[in-house]
Amino acid sequence: GESVGLHLPTLSVQEGDNSIINCAYSNSASDYFIWYKQESGKGPQFIIDIRSNMDKRQGQRVTVLLNKTVKHLSLQIAATQPGDSAVYFCAENFISNFGNEKLTFGTGTRLTIIP
């Protein structure tokens, strides 16, 4: 079946360094991808998104790269800060011909920033 998955369940990064979190997806028809951050006890928080007609999008300290050839998504966080410690989920959004959409989440990567 279709699935979205993350390569690494945990990642530890020194404060100030850059981090890269990877994600593989399998639904080639997905047209929209999102990275969410989830802190303990809170709901997922939108970080950045990218549409399938793009291969790179930058935000503030974050960059998302999309490689449709190998169905791979990555999130780069520059100059990491303690507040970046959280679980990061990638999600793919598929919108059907009827306009219905379904967001499928990956399993999550726990990012820990070491002071």
Binding site: I34, G43, F89, E101, F105
Partner: protein, 115 residues
């Protein structure tokens, strides 16, 4: 900044009992969603709702589940006869789904514990 709110934050119930989880989406949003997250697992899509009807539902969303928008502000998830495996965090989300943004805004969640 407008946000999605959910009540209660924690609901404890006995197996077989009915529960209603409540959400107040962001006021100008038109699309509403419920997700669940079993402890330590990924966020799973349950149902999407638009124009007072279900637009998409997952295989998890069986006959025990129902959603309703009883008035202009609330969006509820009802579980008719709870099972132990329904214990999870339940997240409500809403989206404007305009041409500029598909972003889904998540609430803080309701932790449901079925005993």
């Amino acid at each position: 900044e407008p946000e999605v709110t959910q009540t209660p934050s924690h609901q404890v119930t006995q197996m077989g009992q009915e529960v209603i989880l409540r959400c107040v989406p962001i006021s100008n949003h038109l699309y509403f969603y419920w997700y669940r997250q079993i402890l330590g697992q990924k966020v799973e899509f349950l149902v999407s709702f638009y124009n007072n009807e279900i637009s998409e539902k997952s295989e998890i969303f069986d006959d025990q589940f129902s959603v309703e928008r009883p008035d202009g502000s609330n969006f509820t998830l009802k579980i008719r006869s709870t099972k132990l495996e329904d214990s999870a965090m339940y997240f409500c989300a809403s989206s404007p789904r305009t041409s500029l943004s598909n972003e889904q805004f998540f609430g803080p969640g309701t932790r449901l514990t079925v005993l």
